[in-house]
């Protein structure tokens, strides 16, 4: 019997016009991990940020994370505690790639965590971070926004599901 696909495309979308945010909803709970690939830009040098939730995104101060970044010739680390709209990475009018991996996103026995990696040449920054959403609810909604500006038209969001077995 042939094995099922381990790495599957759940949804994909390309923005037809600039937007303040983009939401992926009705994410099925049938996978083990999720990978979200963002390929695009923003209308100015700002940041990509993200909220997650079940049914609707959590806009409360229930997020925390640790960042490692390189900016020009400076390497640094930062923390966000009790954040309401956690950081993904720097963005600019130059196209960049950001990859977010959610582990055990549908497991209702654990708090939700994810890893982000990406970089933006336009803002001379590379980012790596680990975040936690202090909720045991399954993630079925993800909202990406531009912090202080719009996400550019042409930006793509592709969500993959990874099955453990």
């Amino acid at each position: 019997m042939a094995a099922g696909s381990t790495y599957s495309t759940i949804m994909t979308n390309t923005l037809g016009s600039a937007a303040a945010s983009y939401t992926l909803s009705s994410i099925p709970s049938t996978y083990t991990d999720l990978i979200l690939v963002i390929d695009g830009s923003t209308v100015s040098n700002i940041q990509f940020r993200m909220r997650v939730g079940n049914g609707s995104v959590d806009t409360n101060s229930n997020y925390g994370g640790t960042q490692l970044y390189g900016y020009a010739t400076t390497a640094g680390s930062g923390r966000e505690t009790n954040a309401t709209n956690p950081y993904i990475g720097a963005s600019s009018t130059t196209n960049s790639t950001h990859i977010i991996q959610f582990m055990n996103y549908a497991n209702t026995n654990v708090l939700k965590t994810w890893l982000t990696k990406g970089g933006d040449m336009g803002s001379n920054q590379i980012d790596l971070s680990a975040y936690c959403w202090r909720s045991t609810s399954a993630i079925n909604t993800i909202q990406i926004s531009g912090n202080g500006g719009n996400i550019s038209s042409g930006t793509t969001f592709t969500l993959y599901g990874i099955s453990a077995a």
């Binding site: 696909s5 495309t9 390929d39 020009a72 990406g118 590379i126």
Partner: protein, 163 residues
């Protein structure tokens, strides 16, 4: 349902090589992922640049750690590989991800990799870069930057399709 992630081609070196090229890349995927397990013949562990469609002009932002320090730089090196001073028969692990490789945008990519060494000195790094070509990607070359990859270094190219 077709596979989302498919092996396009692979190369395993039986002798040293200064570069590895994957050409005639089919245009039927969305993203590309190149996974390397490599070792260099020389004593430098900073090796590897990437060419897309033969274009060498690229710039990238790199952050890397050595086990005792962290640095941020702008350079065009896309590879942190085990040198011949590292633990015998040990290879680095790295990945280069090129998103939307058939688009008419300049090609941005993400690199991450680590050396493996039973010693206090080892490297882990991550980079974001861009290659200034708006043509769809039909070839990818990874070069050992003045050095050569040793035998048993492996290179796997995967295609990822979003629909």
């Amino acid at each position: 349902m077709p596979n989302t992630m498919t092996l396009i081609a692979s190369q395993t070196l039986s002798t040293t090589a200064a570069s590895i090229t994957f050409s005639s890349i089919p245009q039927t995927y969305t993203d590309l992922k190149l996974i390397l397990s490599a070792r260099l013949s020389g004593s430098s562990n900073v090796g590897g640049t990437i060419q897309i469609n033969g274009v060498t002009s690229n710039a990238q932002r790199v952050i890397f750690g050595t086990g005792s320090a962290v640095n941020s730089e702008q350079n065009n090196l896309t590879g942190i590989h085990n040198s011949n001073t590292y633990t015998t028969n040990t290879f680095s692990n790295s990945e280069i991800y090129v998103s939307n490789y058939t688009s008419s945008n300049n090609k941005n990519y993400h690199y991450e990799g680590t050396t493996e060494n039973n010693a206090t000195a080892s490297y882990i790094g991550m980079a974001a870069g861009v290659v200034n070509t708006t043509s769809p990607v039909t070839s990818i070359t990874t070069l050992a930057a003045g050095d050569t990859y040793t035998a048993n270094s492996t290179f796997y190219l995967y295609g990822i399709v979003k629909q």
